[in-house]
């Protein structure tokens, strides 16, 4: 099992969700986050006082998937979330030791 963490542009969230649904991935957790990588922030001016805003709003999707589906899911997310500009986000893949379904104590991939 692997955990896929994808940080994407908020306006791409719907596209990514739809694309994942299209390949049969329907479990995910989403959080609104702020951050930046190489993308520069923007300037805001209030009564002449300038503020550099570095942390920009992003959306983080998290899902735990069977290892053999990882490549397909990565491809799906990255093509749905890509605009081709700096700031499109990143995808991380992490190993997962165990998964437990709270309702009935299913374990492993059955619990996903």
């Amino acid at each position: 099992m692997k955990k896929i963490e994808a940080i994407v542009q908020p306006f791409k969230l719907e596209d990514v969700k739809e694309a994942l649904k299209g390949i049969g991935v329907d479990g995910m957790t989403i959080t609104e986050v702020r951050g930046h990588g190489r993308q520069k922030g923007h300037k805001e001016v209030y009564r002449g006082q300038e503020y550099q805003v570095d942390l920009l709003p992003k959306v983080k999707l998290e899902m735990i998937v069977p290892s053999d589906r990882v490549d397909e899911i990565i491809k799906t997310i990255s093509s749905a979330a890509r605009s081709g500009k700096i700031g499109d986000g990143k995808i991380f893949v992490l190993p997962v030791e165990e998964a437990i379904r709270i309702r009935n104590d299913d374990r492993g991939e059955t619990a996903l």
């Binding site: 805001e44 001016v45 209030y46 009564r47 002449g48 006082q49 300038e50 503020y51 805003v53």
Partner: protein, 459 residues
């Protein structure tokens, strides 16, 4: 005019039916009916004006200032406005109205109206002959509420609540009541209409309200020192949407503030209404234009700040100037206040957090001086020579000396505001400690002073 037609018909019919003695009686009865009708008309407008001026403080100023601070201080900042609806009201009833408006010295009133003794529904002819004395008292109270609330812009986000209460109480006694008495009280030093030695035109409070509060605010900002992290960490307004609502409520409420200062519902109220609206519009335009040229974008915050600056600047002249000068006064105020706030303040480095000085102190001074230029007896013929001819008012009427009188009024307001504010700050600091502890400031005034939070979105 409405009264003239029925009156002539009535007396004509009367003369045929009864004898002359009865005509006199009827005329006396009519006379009293006309007076009562005028009183009802004037009082209706003045009661609405009272409510409009209160609307400026709560919710107007509370929302305007509340949106400009960080979200951990939104309630504390709104409280700074709201508590004055409480504190200034009680002080006014006990002693404030008397010290401002009863006869006393040329600097401060006496105690004749203490506890509102003798302030009933009969008019006080010295101030406003066609409205109940209590209406006049309430109208003036609304000014005494908003004036100290304006200062909150300078001490926002870092003052201790207890110290704020003490500072404001002292400030009312030392600065506001004397200044209001000098400009508007009978026998006050600067009162142009009721026997002042130096006649200064201040229709609705350029000196009394805006210069005193603006200068006091600057002194408070300097005394308190900047908020911790000022210019190092971001201190962006947390909710410009509520600031926008607040500023627009200020604009609407200002019609009560300025047009209500005519103390009646006649033509003078209309002139003040027109001047007020025109100045707000050009000031918003002026600020946004300056900002557009300087930093590339016209902002909503710039627009509403400019509107408030224009409303401030037209306040002293609103019942004296014609519409075209009002457009000009507003525009100048918008541009000048923008430069004070966006450029001069940054260069000097003081932390007038919400720009109480840059907008109210500067806009008020500008407006008071320009009133000396543009005041005209075409708008306000309240001053007459012994033959009944209206006296020239400002430079446009050929009375250049008025600018000097205005400057003296401005000077007195600045000195009284600065010295008075310093004394009050010092006393409040010695008694309570003025500034919230670093810990409380970091935590935010909402939690540390009031034990609550403005936004509990999970609740």
């Amino acid at each position: 005019m409405k009264f003239l037609i029925p009156m002539s018909l009535f007396t004509a019919g009367l003369a045929m039916a009864d004898g002359p003695a009865s005509v006199d009686e009827k005329i006396a009865a009519l006379d009293s009916a006309v007076k009562s009708a005028q009183m009802s008309g004037d009082n209706a407008w003045m009661l609405v004006s009272c409510a409009l001026v209160l609307l400026m403080t709560g919710p107007g100023l509370a929302l305007f200032y509340g949106g400009l601070v960080r979200k951990k201080n939104v309630l504390g900042t709104m409280m700074h406005s709201f508590i004055l609806m409480v504190l200034a009201t009680v002080l006014w009833a006990v002693v404030g109205y008397s010290l401002a408006f009863s006869e006393g010295s040329s600097v401060v009133g006496g105690l004749k109206y203490a506890f509102l003794n003798g302030v009933g529904t009969d008019p006080n002819a010295d101030y406003a002959a066609t409205i109940p004395h209590q209406t006049f008292m309430m109208f003036q109270l609304m000014f005494a509420i908003i004036t100290p609330a304006l200062i909150a812009g300078a001490y926002a986000e870092r003052i201790k609540f207890s110290a704020m209460l003490l500072y404001t109480t002292l400030w009312m006694l030392i600065v506001y009541y004397p200044m209001a008495h000098m400009v508007w009280g009978k026998g006050g030093l600067l009162n142009a209409f009721l026997g002042g030695k130096i006649p200064c035109f201040d229709f609705a409070g350029g000196t009394v309200v805006h210069i005193t509060s603006g200068v006091s605010a600057l002194v408070a900002a300097l005394y308190l020192k900047p908020r911790s992290g000022y210019l190092q960490e971001p201190m962006r307004p947390h909710n410009l949407v509520i600031s926008f609502i607040g500023a627009c409520l200020l604009w609407v409420g200002w019609f009560g503030f300025n047009a209500g200062s005519a103390l009646g519902a006649g033509g003078l109220a209309t002139s003040a209404f027109v001047a007020t609206h025109f100045a707000a519009a050009t000031a918003a335009a002026g600020w946004m234009l300056a900002e557009w040229l300087k930093s590339g974008k016209p902002s909503v915050l710039g627009g509403i700040s400019g509107a408030v600056a224009g409303l401030v600047a037209i306040t002293p002249g609103s019942g004296f100037v014609q519409p075209m000068p009002a457009l000009l006064i507003g525009f100048v105020a918008g541009v000048v206040c923008y430069f004070m706030v966006a450029i001069v303040k940054m260069k000097l480095g003081y932390d007038d957090s919400l720009d109480a000085f840059g907008v109210h102190g500067v806009g008020g001074t500008l407006g008071a001086l320009l009133t000396g230029v543009f005041a005209t007896n075409l708008i306000n013929n309240g001053l007459k020579d012994p033959s009944g001819k209206p006296l020239p008012l400002g430079l446009v009427d050929g009375n250049a000396a008025q600018i000097a009188n205005q400057a003296i009024g401005v000077g007195i307001a600045i000195v009284l505001g600065a010295v008075g504010s310093f004394v009050c700050l010092k006393i409040a600091d010695l008694v309570c400690g003025l500034r919230a502890s670093a810990e409380h400031e970091t935590e935010g005034l909402d939690l540390s002073m009031h034990g609550e939070e403005g936004y509990n979105l999970e609740a």
